[in-house]
Amino acid sequence: MSNPSEMSGEPLAGNPLEEPVDSASTVSQTPSPIPVPVVARPESHETPEPAPRVHRIYRHKLPVRLAHWLNVLCLPILIMSGLQIFNAHPALYWGDRSDRDRPILSMRAMRTESGEVVGVTTVFGHAFETTGVLGLSHDSVRGFPAWATLPGGKWLAMGRQWHLFFAWLFVINGLIFGLYAILSRHLSRDLFPKWEGLRGIGQALKDHLLLRHPTGEKHYNVLQKIAYTGVVFGLGPLIVLTGLSMSPMIDAAFPGLLTLFGGRQSARTIHFLACFAFIGFVVIHLSQVVLTGLWNNLRSMLTGWYAVEESGATHGGQQAN
């Protein structure tokens, strides 16, 4: 896929549109080889400038797209079946064991003085009434509600079946993608944040928070780079390793894992937090996908082809990433 003779660094100032990722992408002046007509500029919230010139670059290679869509399949299943498993004992602890009088977090149903049953979530000793969502939902005593779990009803055995099957798919996908990213230099070239980019992080954060998103950029911006690198090489391994730490067999083979995470119940707690970090990532990622041009982004992740504008296309995106 990759052309070993291509440039590796940032595009040169003299020709900022030269796509360094793939030889097939140097199409700046020639029509896109795919049949989709080159239509209007990608969606944005800016006032349109007069007839911006748009062309398409081959942004996402096939391995990236495949890995991405496999994750789209795996993540919701893993999260929802994980919440099903959590519901079998809806409490979290720190350390090796779970002393039931000392949870960090617990979800329960309780009867109030007036005889009413309510859902109560307790975090670090602070109790919150969470009837309808946590602890008690649809007259059923359960941690997370039916709409958030797979299967919907209480069914630990089936939740485990889903979880452990798709965990394998997720791990194999992650290993292949991680290796691909390193070997093809996708990591060093496109994902890993560069020093110049990191210096512009303040501006980039500000622009994102003000919803002044760069659109139609050729490269990932610094926040994307941090997020993608962090998820693929940080959060992903973390959630897999904490998951494996819950296996008594793996603990026997690799006792260091539990030393690292501070015990099996700590590992379970970190696994749970990492799950919510994934949810947070997905929420932000999806909102960014919509805000920076849903169709352009979607097309590029389906076909690889991404529309960029020749000039004045971005604000907040001019810094090196």
Partner: protein, 256 residues
């Protein structure tokens, strides 16, 4: 015009996504009830078992803790007092009349009393019990190594599994049972425990004898063991999946 088209397209896709979401959720629950899909999901168990066995040395030991790590309360789970008249009679007599039958594919079938088991060399281990539900408790277990017991009855070459029949029936009268293979059966930490935390094993924890298989989840560790049978296959027992919970969809290999 182009704008309208774009909005139509957007509406269509958003509507399609919503429909797909509902369809997927309903579909997942249907899939959970279909034979072909659950059997596909079940393939993961074999992969997990092979991978874990490959990565884990046969003799790799589960971590052993110190007295300071013991759980203040070790919560009993599942049956805490078998609704079985035979068992209740044995319990009233302090299990003096209880006999552990060890048979099946062995050269020398044998019967052991509790006193005889207690006279054999014992092993004490402070280990973490991991329930499939997610909680963990640390207890000190004392008992006889299963390997030691098997050495006395001499399994035949065709033997592959050690099956444990228990005293506790569920509401439908189905008795608890479990099975492990020889790799687990001969592991040094696989014991038939008759003491918890230095005291006679309480009824709630499986008196007079319960199994400990420290590298698997709690449901493998049968309580109230009455009979041990060495077998080539467990397919003929109850639901055929090798254990009470296995018959209800839990994995036979409970290493994770």
């Amino acid at each position: 015009m182009a704008d309208n088209k774009r909005i139509d397209r957007r509406r269509f896709v958003i509507g399609a996504l919503q429909a797909a979401g509902l369809f997927v959720l309903a579909g997942c629950d249907n899939l959970s009830r279909s034979d072909w899909f659950t059997s596909l999901l079940g393939k993961a168990e074999g992969v997990t078992r092979r991978a874990q066995r490959l990565l884990t040395p046969r003799r790799a030991m589960a971590k052993e803790f110190t007295e300071a790590d013991l759980s203040p309360v070790f919560p009993p789970n599942g049956t805490d007092n078998p609704a079985n008249p035979v068992y209740q009679a044995l319990a009233r007599n302090g299990f003096a009349d209880w006999r552990l039958e060890v048979g099946g594919l062995v050269q020398h079938p044998a019967v052991f009393s509790l006193a005889e088991l207690r006279d054999m060399p014992s092993r004490t281990q402070i280990t973490r019990h991991d329930c499939v539900e997610g909680w963990s408790a640390i207890g000190k277990w004392t008992g006889i190594q299963l390997g030691e017991l098997l050495a006395r009855v001499q399994p035949l070459p065709s033997a592959r599994y050690v099956v444990f029949y228990c005293a506790d029936p569920d509401e439908d009268g189905q008795h608890y049972y479990e099975s492990i293979d020889f790799e687990d059966a001969y592991h040094p930490q696989t014991i038939l425990a008759y003491e918890l935390n230095g005291k006679t094993l309480p009824i709630a924890h499986g008196a007079p004898v319960r199994l400990r298989v420290e590298r698997q989840l709690g449901y493998k560790m049968a309580k109230y063991v009455m009979r041990i049978e060495v077998m080539e296959s467990f397919a003929s027992i109850a639901g055929g999946q090798g254990g009470y919970w296995e018959d209800q969809g839990y994995e036979w290999y409970a290493g994770i």
